[in-house]
Amino acid sequence: GKYVMVIHGGAGTILKKNMTPEKEAAYRAALKEALTTGYETLQAGKTSIDAVEATIRVLEDCPLFNAGKGAVFTHDGRNEMDAAIMNGKTLEAGAVAGVSTIRNPISAARAVMEKSEHVMMTGRGAEQFAKDAGLEIVDPKYFWTQERWDGLQQALKEDSLKSKLDHSYQQPGKLGIENRDNKFG
């Protein structure tokens, strides 16, 4: 049949042997809830923009996924989130990057698209714009989850060990970070 919506919740090392039945059921339920929300939005005659925003908000509010409530931590122990949205009819687009206080960054991206002449806003400016646009602002603690915090501590430990054991790790001119699959969140 003709498809009307597709979603993803991230890609990476997702092995069945590492997944408990309970956790897999939770992921499937969350994805189903997101799809159902989007489908019902479309069935109600609303736009595809309304549908993708509503769907993403469900996923952002779910701590299982690396977005919104389930966001991973930066090196400094902060949650910095990004989001983007695009309208295929008008080619209008909106995005926010590096935000830490907007409960649903996707709605901020939509506000940038529809309520400003810009395409992307970052950091504190984006947060102020979202507040002025009437979006829900939360304490950064809202995004804290034990699993993501533990993930950061593990990554910091691995980096510390690697820098001690591998003298080529700290190469001159390489100030970035090593991207390993387990860091996708």
């Binding site: 049949g1 003709k2 498809y3 009307v4 597709v6 979603i7 993803h8 919740g9 991230g10 990476g12 090392t13 997702i14 069945k16 992921y27 499937r28 994805l31 189903k32 997101a34 799809l35 989007g38 489908y39 479309l42 736009t47 595809s48 923009i49 549908a51 993708v52 925003e53 769907t55 993403i56 952002e60 996924f65 690396n66 977005a67 966001a71 991973v72 930066t74 090196h75 400094d76 910095e80 989130m81 990004d82 989001a83 983007a84 949205i85 695009m86 309208n87 295929g88 009819k89 926010v96 590096g98 996707i106 991206a109 980096d159 970035g176 970070i177 991207n179 699959d181 860091k183 996708f184």
Partner: protein, 133 residues
């Protein structure tokens, strides 16, 4: 990262992506998700796309727009275009996946990792959810 693409009753496409970034990232690093054309793109003439994965490779390959361009200029199907752009990411050493929905309701969900949380729904309400390869 999470993403959604949709096609409404008026034939209009939309794409959205939201992410918490990478664990342990520094220096205000930004990935592909908020960059239009890299991690997110929609055009009624072609396709709506949302990407997930190692963002630097999606930015350098302008993946979402590249997929649209392959349909627009080369006449590829959404499935062929999806495979092509993920192969480019893979060839450079990157990994991840994407979802794409074209203007006619055809889809592609390619990825080169062990798994990708993903789901689809058809016009008649049939929902399918997949996690592994």
């Amino acid at each position: 990262t999470v993403g959604a693409v949709a096609l409404d009753k008026s034939g209009n496409l939309a794409a959205a992506t939201s992410t918490g970034g990478m664990t342990n990232k520094k220096y205000g690093r930004i990935g592909d998700s908020p960059i239009i054309g890299a991690g997110t793109y929609a055009n009624n003439k072609t396709v709506a796309v949302s990407c997930t994965g190692w963002g630097e490779f999606y930015i350098r390959n302008v993946v979402a727009y590249d997929l649209s361009a392959l349909i627009a200029y080369k006449g590829l199907s959404v499935e062929e275009a999806g495979k092509t752009v993920i192969a480019k990411v893979d060839a450079m050493g990157g990994d991840g996946g994407l979802i794409a929905l074209d203007k006619d309701g055809n889809i592609a969900l390619p990825f080169n990792t062990e798994g990708m949380y993903r789901g689809t729904v058809t016009a008649d309400g049939k929902i399918e959810i997949y996690i592994y390869k």
